[in-house]
Symmetry: C2
């Protein structure tokens, strides 16, 4: 009905939210820091914090021993037993984990599969694992929801997976399937977007308000963008598909695919091929590249960097971010000659737009998607801790 914005109740809820978000994002914080951070009154923070504690959403612990003058301030921490179940279905496995409100992974299980899982199978797998965990690791946990990171386009309204090419899912109502299998509210989003969110909140993009994130995987390039501190989803949730872009290619002989898209030209498969591997994880590929002194390898790296630089330059012109975060094989590609990439990007965009632009490698490891997906499940709670 009414969105309580503008009323007193709304203020209260927003203040609770603000505290909980701080505890969630910044980790354990003293009450004193919370008052400083929120600008609220000491007494107000005290009452809000104890309200959150009563709700079981935060723990108030004894003060940390600090070496400063004055009365020690109790530490407020997001309650670790408030948890989200997160799911990442892939071609060869389904990873399921539980993530605490303190953003730490509690349990994690990778279920290898010998065939492509269907949406219904995925839901059943989640329900099964959850039922087992509920009697063991998560006996005392309070599970607030499920977040799914899906390699495909997900409609944000209803979580419908419109198309996940590698899983061969089309218009899959996986959100509803998971909700009815588990009895928990679920959220679904594109995996790369969730990676962007994770890197923004907990990784290389901490505290940065405008960033572009690109991840290079085995099957293509995905991404996400943060504008003004908020993850961009677009109208329907399909934003961030950098891999499908067609960047300019200045040298005609740099092109491999006629009318190809970015991920046709800048691809992990081509890197593997040129170093003579068929399958390899990222460290192995990076090592192989570093070890190789071959001209062909150097050529291919330079070619891919040139095309990537144009794509990044385009993004910089349009979005004027202060940071570009590269993950997966794009991190390997960038790390190989970071200065060259930075220079190429700067050369391909408006001079002022690249001022103060930083290009960094993603920090979070393989848990990135899980942490991002947990944000989906925590979103409601964080936005309004009183919304049951």
């Amino acid at each position: 009905m009414a969105d309580r914005t503008g009323t007193f109740d709304g203020v209260h809820r927003r203040n609770l939210s603000k505290l909980l978000v701080l505890a969630h994002l910044e980790g354990p914080l003293s009450r004193a820091r919370l008052t400083a951070e929120t600008g609220l009154n000491r007494s107000t923070v005290a009452s809000l914090a104890s309200e959150l504690a009563d709700l079981g959403l935060v723990e108030e612990r004894a003060p940390d021993p600090t070496n400063r003058v004055g009365r020690p301030s109790p530490v407020v921490a997001a309650h670790p037993s408030v948890q989200a179940i997160v799911v990442n279905p892939e071609v060869d496995a389904v990873t399921i984990a539980a993530v605490g409100l303190n953003a730490r992974i509690v349990v994690r299980e990778r279920l290898e599969v010998d065939h492509l899982v269907t949406p219904a199978e995925t839901a059943d797998l989640v329900a099964g694992v959850l039922a087992r965990w509920r009697t063991t690791e998560l006996r005392d946990a309070r599970i607030v929801g499920v977040g799914l990171a899906v390699p495909g386009q997900v409609r944000s309204d209803d979580g419908l997976v419109r198309w996940a090419p590698h899983l061969e899912w089309t218009d899959a109502p996986v959100r509803e399937l998971v909700e009815s299998a588990t009895g928990l509210p679920a959220g679904v989003a594109n995996d790369a977007s969730l990676g962007a969110r994770a890197e923004h909140l907990f990784g290389a993009g901490r505290g940065v308000d405008d960033l572009v994130y690109l991840n290079g995987g085995a099957s293509g390039i995905g991404g996400g963008l943060v504008v003004g501190g908020r993850l961009v989803s677009g109208t329907r949730g399909y934003a961030g598909e950098f891999g499908q872009n067609r960047p300019g290619i200045a040298r005609q002989d740099d092109r491999r695919v006629p009318d190809g898209v970015l991920e046709d030209e800048v691809s992990r498969a081509r890197l593997l091929q040129v170093v003579g591997l068929t399958h390899a994880d990222e460290p192995t590929l990076a090592a192989a590249i570093a070890a190789s002194g071959g001209l062909a390898v150097a050529e291919e790296l330079a070619r891919q960097q040139r095309i990537l630089a144009t794509a990044l330059g385009n993004a910089v012109n349009v979005l004027n971010p202060s940071l570009i975060v590269l993950g997966g094989f794009l991190a390997t590609l960038a790390a190989h000659d970071a200065a060259a990439l930075e220079a190429a990007v700067a050369a391909q965009c408006l001079p002022v737009a690249s001022e103060g632009l930083d290009i960094r490698v993603a920090e979070l490891g393989e848990n990135r998607l899980l942490i991002g997906a947990a944000e989906l499940a925590f979103a409601r709670l964080l936005a309004d801790p009183l919304a049951d």
Copy 2:
């Protein structure tokens, strides 16, 4: 010091702001509609509205005669005598106008110049015109600030014009110059960004939360983007420079400039050339194109559409907007064969991303930049009507 967010005072200020913004954007509104729109209580709206009236920011008029049952509701309208001075320096002229809080242009004057104006000259021109107006048209006006729309890159922190190539301004502190010449607070921004803001708030993009705006001018292509209902400025304010992008060009012989950018390939000058004109305003160019049955003209239009479609497809992949607004000669280019352009864009981006995508022509005429610039001047007032 503290940003009063989260306190009661903050609620009050936000509510005042909400009402004023509604009156500003939606035009005159009944108090009844305001209560519905804000979700606040009748009595609250009454008190807020009369507070705004006391501040001289809105007028409360007698009810409009409506044919509906029930007691008529007084109409609240943004006060037209609360005004902004707006300035648009160009190569051949400086346009100065006064815009009311009701978003209507009160006075407008185009001062032709026979040389490139300097920032200091611009400031003097503004101060001179303003002084004259203050004794005539604007005798009873309450001028709250100045907004400048500059064709160049403007740093958002301090309004420094980093580079305006056609005006030949470099690192021009035009904001400070105007502020000290007029004694009014001033804001400066890129002209195309302000065009995007105007089209978003009052033009083809009304009510649309995610849109991309591209304007084709004589000297290039500028643009702006709205994400989640907010104009994107980027870290330093340089966002929206679509004209400097390098989109993929599938057919090699479509390229005119080696390693050229979008505005090298998709250009008004090339259109003029192919129809055999040297100078023409937009209607003249459009008429010439429509009149010409020549193959060369059709070829050039199709070529430019192809390249534009790739650039737009890239933007759609990344931003998933629900609307693309085209202005200037890009509107002419699009109108020539709208279906072809839509199809080409859809073919160049992820299928789901173009679902429900609309491509429209800009609605606001030559006053677009002025109305956008007024938003700069009104921003403070609208965000916090009590902030003196």
